[in-house]
Symmetry: C2
């Protein structure tokens, strides 16, 4: 039997999906599992997008242009104009989800062995895309104590070597929900210009900013045209994760041309998705207002619920639909698996993503989990009760941060 490849062996498993077999088993045993592990919202896809699919008229389900149809790119450009992005259809390259957008961007901009600096915790699959493209991730640690704000620019600078080629941010952030402020974006701009780096900005959660906070893209900053690569997706914006439709936006013509060659190799993104994506741009503002109000409410319920649990700490994030919470546990991977395998409360349990997979520094995030607030508030409340009960009896329970503080009196 031929061996599989080293990268096949060493490729990191998705922390979001790796516990799925345990969840499946729990369900077979009759448990109800609250899925807070994955960013698959229960929010309905806009009716206009669904209608576009149902009313589609075609005889041949054909390839489109590799860069995406002109019609879709033109419509997309109008969506971005509403956000004051000064871009045209020729700056947009349509991709099969943000996943492919990141992969192609890394391939087009970075060589094997080049380095990209990413504030951690970060979206776990960045590890996989970097691994596939031979790029090395240099993590710069952000901290739960200040809600995972952008680390000081000095921390980035310490990591810069002759191999550093890019900074990658996700804004609003997955997994932390942190929304970068204008000052943080300006600081990143100066860094990027000083060292002539690419700035990859994953903006899949752009629509989800709460408490009146303002979203700032590098596209809003002057002087970065050659440096910025925007990564986007319709998955979260329109609750259409299964559409696998995203894009790269860049005004750097060399990057665009190189990216197009990678796009040509896989021929095109989906035809129906692009038709639906075009219709989606006409989604009325009320849809987003309603969705954002729902997410704000869920976040409040979740964050309050978490912080009420003895030993748990969770910051209150400004965007996206995730939080990273610190639990009084020895090992998040063990705990999350234990919740599925060995725990039930009233025949319910909760699936969460261990935060370790969102860090690349070994050991970091060992007592943190990512929770996606993609269920309604009733279910979220029940899930929090479950979590509270689980933490009471989990064999690997340790003192929580607040408890340590109280026990040592170091809050004095």
């Amino acid at each position: 039997m031929p061996n599989i490849s080293e990268r096949g062996r060493e490729m990191p498993a998705s922390p979001i999906r790796k516990l799925t077999p345990f969840a499946d088993k729990a369900k077979l045993e009759g448990k109800k599992v609250y899925h807070l592990n994955i960013g698959q919202p229960d929010i309905e896809t806009p009716q206009g997008m669904i209608s576009a699919v149902k009313n589609i008229d075609f005889k041949v389900w054909a390839y489109t242009a590799s860069e995406g149809t002109l019609s879709y790119r033109t419509k997309l450009a109008s969506y971005y104009k509403k956000y004051n992005y000064n871009i045209e259809p020729e700056h947009i390259l349509v991709t099969t989800g943000a996943s492919e957008a990141i992969m192609i961007s890394m391939m087009a901009c970075l060589n094997d062995g080049d380095e990209v600096i990413i504030p951690e915790p970060f979206y776990a699959n960045y590890n996989a895309f970097a691994y596939c493209s031979g790029v090395n991730i240099k993590p710069v640690l952000s901290h739960i104590d200040n809600g995972f704000a952008l680390p000081p620019i000095g921390d980035f600078e310490k990591l810069i070597t002759s191999k550093t080629r890019a900074i990658l941010i996700c804004n609003p952030n997955n997994p932390t929900g942190y929304l970068y402020a204008i000052e943080e974006m300006e600081a990143l701009k100066q860094l990027v210009l000083k060292y002539d780096l690419y700035l990859f900005s994953d903006e899949a959660y752009r629509e989800f900013c709460y408490d009146g906070r303002v979203f700032v893209s590098p596209m809003h900053l002057d002087g970065l045209d050659e440096n910025v690569i925007i990564i986007d997706s319709v998955s979260k914006r329109y609750s259409a994760c299964g559409a696998r439709l995203g894009c790269i936006i860049t005004k750097n013509k060399k990057v665009y041309s190189a990216a197009l060659k990678f796009a040509q190799a896989r021929l095109s993104a989906g035809m129906i998705e692009q038709i639906a994506g075009e219709a989606a741009v006409d989604t009325p503002d009320e849809y987003f207002e309603k969705v954002n109000s729902e997410y704000t409410h869920r976040r409040d319920v979740l964050v309050q619920g978490l912080n009420k649990i003895n030993g748990v700490f969770c910051p209150n994030p400004g965007g996206a639909f995730y939080v990273v919470a610190q639990l009084p546990i020895d090992d998040a991977d063990k705990f999350c698996q234990w919740m599925l395998e060995s725990f039930e409360y009233d025949n319910h349990t909760v699936m969460m993503a261990p935060a370790t997979g969102f860090y690349s520094t070994p050991g970091a995030g060992y007592n943190e989990v990512r929770i996606a607030y993609v269920l309604n508030t009733d279910d979220l409340k029940k899930a929090m009760i479950c979590l509270d009960e689980a933490l009471k009896i989990y064999p690997g329970r340790v003192l929580g941060t607040k408890e340590v503080v109280a026990a040592t009196g170091s809050n004095s």
Copy 2:
């Protein structure tokens, strides 16, 4: 401005799509362009597949399982059973087109620097996938004189090194249309077992075999369970190229597990595509009979038309919907571009794919083009008239094979 990557610079442009800007310009100038460059059939997608899309009922366009829905994989297994593949749903990993299937298979099975032997000419984008995954292609030359039959196994063996990990075939072949006979498949089996190699079999054109010839898959051969990776796609089978839906089939559990990790990183294939793909399995046999009869007719018209042109030689292939023809020209890249830029006959011209991009040996195929017979016979006839006229006046015309033979008297 930061530089793009070396791989971004060196990534080969698609020979199928790279002349598109010239075709676009020709069309702007009012010329009608016959598109014989790309395997985008004009054949209608089965009604059942279109109805499945139009009648779809969903509220959330959601991710599916990373390996594909159980429902679709179960149905797909029944499709393969009709072809006497002894496989189950758990051997199928659903992908975003055959493109992704090849990329993931290479990543899971081969390391950076490993070698895969491929009979050339081969599907041009294999170059791109190999390039992206750091795999080196070792081409083994097949010849137009015998219709691009499998090269002697001795030619493969000469190329085997400690780095050789796989053989990749495309059957029926893109670009040559050659259908491998049982004896050729058996010879490959012995080779693969002798050197413990993977056998990647790209079977996107399985349904298209002509003149009563029989399709043979490595899945029909005993003793290869751990070696075989089937690459498949619905694109050509159901004239649904824009659906971007394919799969990997393997009974090698280690390969499957490794491939799944790569699949998890990109979350899932399209939801609607899998629903449509499930419906497509119920496509009645008459659909394929009608389509095959149409393609057989087109092939006959095309091959006869080509061989009638002074200096042109084209074998008569047994499958797929491509031919590679030898033309009396100095340089296929120049000629194909010239056809679009500088030629018109009755305001018509033809777009073809220069065969050079389908070889990895420099210089090979310099006087060959790939022609896809994806247009109706009337258009094919008109395209052949165009080509004939073009060859009469093309400034880089040279003596064709038959003319050289006649001129030197070496046919005696």
